[in-house]
Symmetry: C2
């Protein structure tokens, strides 16, 4: 195989973008094999946009068609695990859009099924992992250049969504159709990057606002305070109602600090010694000079500024290219499919903490989460309850 023929399941904004990126030759090693959508209007749009491409309205027919070697699922989040399992079962390489699913037990089922089919490539569309800025930051942290992480703080409120966005479709911003708000739709990118770079926390306490500034049932603002169990803590704040929007990610380590602004620039400060050593060896007289403003602390560190600017679509093209390369020659995946669990688990823990009004462990009771989610689906009365 020289080219991976991709089947795109779901022709919304993302599905349309992926088709365009591939047909514009921005994804080496990949062609569009077929496109599927169960909405007749979308099917007509596919035919109009891509007249030479086979079109399906039932994804199972696409899987059985022989037109494709791989699929990407850009469908409502609840459906990702079910479709991924069907695709893997059909022997097709599978790229799942984020989030991997809505609740952990369905993601676990998908991950277990994929693990039992190691010949099939299973990956996630975490396009922001393809941002060279975050790749570089991960390298710096993993190399120990800023020492052990003591605190991280991400304010990510650039996800401004006007009300008309939520009125686009019936499943949007519902418990039964989408499974949540900003936590399952917009911020999975940051839930992934945060844990990819800073690690997985042990427990979570949250304040989550449901229908706070939008007429929706699900969350539109979140503050999560996490504990890594080793003294380190972290805070993530996100919201859909900040027109201007802040994207500021700060990581403090024993030997330095990284401040990322706008996902484009990062200021990396590297201490000459471990902070505790600097603290312990500074004398009383030096401290007095410090307080008088007479001590030049800039000798204690160096500062580097990183700047990258990769267009949004280019990140997605990179993940598609990487997915194809893994299939074709075994290139390591940017985001293996099983990595999708950490983001879904953290999103669930944030919901759960707010529902229970207390801190919850990251390995919370999955059946309790699903029960409380189903209570909300039942109260909403629009979609069926979900099964473990």
């Amino acid at each position: 195989m020289n080219t991976v023929r991709l089947g795109i399941i779901g022709y919304g904004a993302q599905g349309g973008l992926y088709a365009r990126l591939i047909t514009e030759d921005r994804v080496p090693g990949m062609s569009v094999g077929a496109i599927c959508d169960n909405d007749p209007e979308k099917v007509a749009k596919i035919t109009e946009d891509h007249p030479d491409t086979p079109v399906y309205s039932d994804y199972k027919e696409l899987l059985a068609s022989g037109d494709v070697d791989a699929v990407v699922t850009t469908v409502p989040h609840y459906l990702h695990p079910e479709m991924a399992i069907a695709a893997i079962d059909a022997g097709l390489h599978t790229l799942v859009d984020k989030p991997a699913g809505v609740y952990t037990s369905q993601v676990q089922e998908m991950n277990d099924f994929a693990a039992a089919h190691p010949d099939v490539t299973f990956a996630l569309m975490f396009n922001q992992r393809a941002n060279p800025l975050y790749q570089r930051i991960k390298e710096i942290v993993e190399a120990g250049e800023i020492g052990a992480i003591r605190r991280s703080n991400w304010i990510i409120t650039t996800w401004w969504r006007p009300m008309a966005y939520y009125k686009q479709s019936d499943w949007r911003a519902t418990w039964g159709g989408e499974g949540g708000g900003v936590l399952v739709n917009q911020v999975p990118h940051q839930l992934d990057l945060w844990q990819w770079i800073c690690g997985v926390p042990q427990s979570v306490y949250s304040k989550v606002a449901y229908g706070f500034r939008r007429d929706i049932a699900v969350e539109d603002e979140v503050t999560a305070l996490v504990d890594y169990g080793n003294g380190a803590t972290g805070v993530l704040i996100t919201a859909v109602h900040d027109v201007i929007g802040t994207d500021r990610f700060e990581i403090l380590g024993d030997k330095g600090k990284i401040v990322v602004e706008g996902s484009k620039t990062a200021t990396v400060t590297r201490l000459t010694k471990d902070e505790r050593e600097i603290s312990d060896t500074m004398t009383g007289p030096e401290v007095r000079e410090l307080f008088k403003g007479n001590l030049d602390t800039t000798e204690l560190y160096t500062t580097e500024t990183l700047e990258y600017n990769r267009p949004w679509g280019q990140q997605h093209a990179s993940v598609l290219e990487n997915f194809a390369a893994h299939i074709l020659d075994g290139t390591p995946l940017i985001a293996p499919g099983s990595d999708g669990m950490t983001g879904v688990r953290l999103a669930n823990a944030i919901h759960l903490s707010s529902w229970l009004g207390r801190e919850v462990p990251i390995d919370f009771d999955q059946s309790e989460y699903l029960q409380l989610l189903n209570e909300r689906i039942r109260a909403e009365g629009k979609f069926p309850e979900r099964e473990a």
Copy 2:
């Protein structure tokens, strides 16, 4: 009276600064009437620095001396209420350094006593309230220019303190002598400004690290997540172990946003309309253009940059001058003494939440707080327990 003769109780760094500001004629309407310290070395230093000024080693002798019209207390925090009550009882105007005290019941006793003596001026040294930047921000918020506050977030880690700082004196960074760490010593400024500008929260959840990066019994890092009871939330993060330090305060309102950097510059964004109205009136086609990056959102707001740079000592001189002016001609106080309660109460609530591992109301059980504080004082074994 044309000039207020100030008695300075405590000749440490702050007492020395205030004496210097006044004797250098930087405080109109005020002279140094006497200085007191119970440490013989400090008494010698006073005599050396201010040879013409009466010196006392017992503050009660200073209060009875007739040398002063007013006092300022720059002593270990536990002593503030006791000394303020004695000074007010002696008919002297009283300026208390921050924090007003260590636990709320002692501050309440002081406030009640002062309220019963309305002829005596009772004020607090919240010097950062004299920063014109924060004064301007308070005006903007109170005038409703950014609408109802929905979220605030202050990262204030510029309080770097090397270990030698803590070794300066026996009471420093102990439960019995100081009553806490960064919450009672450094961050009372921000605990005051935050509530002065954004209001008093209804409940608090915290993660507090005790002796995390310093060999001390008390807290050296704090994350507090507060709830205002109306959907609004706030986060404050502080630490003493960040060499570089961040000071970034963000306030999001319905009609705008303020971001303060380094307590020196502020970016004030004012929306042309309430955010919810912008959200509700934007059409589906406009939202699609927004997502394609074709919608010019800069038409939705204006941006103003504020910049002030007032030297540290000048803020203290301003509060001293204001204290004198209030005594001499009734000029409104920048920080009335009773305002000290909000900061102490929030600091106590942050401690208490971390000790109990759960959210606590801002009107927590004061006796429970004191009991848990005394447990720590007892375990430390260096100082007497405290009474309600």
